[in-house]
């Protein structure tokens, strides 16, 4: 089990262990259960301690975020290290269904934005009312 912290309606997940395949898969199951149990509006994955994010970890994070979104919960990936960002960008990995934050404060701002079901953190255009 990866310990999680409840902060302002969000589930904060500080990842401080090496993410091997089995751990990532267990984490997915754990988060889905906790989202339901805690009625979390967002999951904040703090990866500032994580040294390697490969294609499989990326895939599982995206998949988890997609599942969380179906449950009305957004996912924010927080604190990707520069060398990890470089590696992901060079590999051409696309992390889908997640918002990215520089730090925890930024993550909370994104997490608590209006939940629209669209791109996290970005509000949809206001409906135009014609008179």
């Amino acid at each position: 089990m990866v310990p999680t912290v409840r902060v302002a309606g969000c589930l904060l997940v500080p990842i401080q262990i090496d993410l091997d395949d089995a751990t990532v898969e267990r984490l997915q199951q754990q988060l889905l259960h906790e989202i339901e149990a805690e009625r979390a509006q967002a999951v904040i994955l703090d990866v500032s301690m994580v040294d390697v994010i490969d294609s499989y970890i990326s895939y599982t994070i995206s998949e988890t975020a997609s599942m969380a979104r179906l449950m009305g919960c957004r996912t924010v990936l927080c604190g990707i290290r520069p060398h990890v960002a470089l590696t992901l960008a060079q590999m051409g990995v696309r992390l889908r269904h997640v918002a990215f934050a520089r730090d925890l404060e930024h993550a909370l701002t994104l997490a608590r934005g209006r939940l629209t079901g669209g791109t996290p953190g970005i509000a949809p255009p206001e409906p135009r009312i014609r008179s």
Partner: protein, 133 residues
């Protein structure tokens, strides 16, 4: 140095071994991360598709003695019928994957070559050289 891939945990072991190796040989943090990520992909491919195989690491040099790190990943698995297609990225026969593993490895490393024979196995050789600056 050889890491045998037999169980899922061996992927993490291979990662750790290459990380230490690259650090000890004075690679930058970015290059350590790239090499470690590349090995993670290669070791996983072995485990997923071939079941068993090995990842070999050794010191190498280029040109006027630029030190480098060579990775050779070998298995006697089913092989890859269409290597070009796999290298184009976004293709995978394994359901839980992005299908960019090998294409990603090629982008992360300075040298990359692959030999694969359906029914006989796959060999990937990749190298990363220490930056001169």
């Amino acid at each position: 140095m050889v890491v045998h891939i037999r169980r899922e945990q061996d992927i993490a072991t291979a990662r750790q071994v290459v990380k230490n190796f690259a650090q000890e040989n004075g690679f930058s943090l970015s290059d350590v991360t790239k090499a470690t990520t590349a090995v993670s992909e290669l070791a996983r491919n072995i485990y997923r598709y071939a079941g068993t195989g090995s990842v070999c690491l050794r010191r190498t040099t280029r040109d006027r003695g630029t030190p480098g790190l060579e990775i050779v990943a070998v298995d006697r698995g089913p092989g890859i019928p269409d290597v070009a297609r796999v290298l184009s990225g976004g293709f995978s026969t394994y359901e839980r994957s992005l299908g960019i593993g090998l294409a990603g490895v090629r982008r992360l490393m300075d040298e990359f070559e692959i030999r694969s024979e359906p029914g006989a196995g796959t060999l990937v050789r990749a190298a990363k050289y220490r930056r001169g600056f």
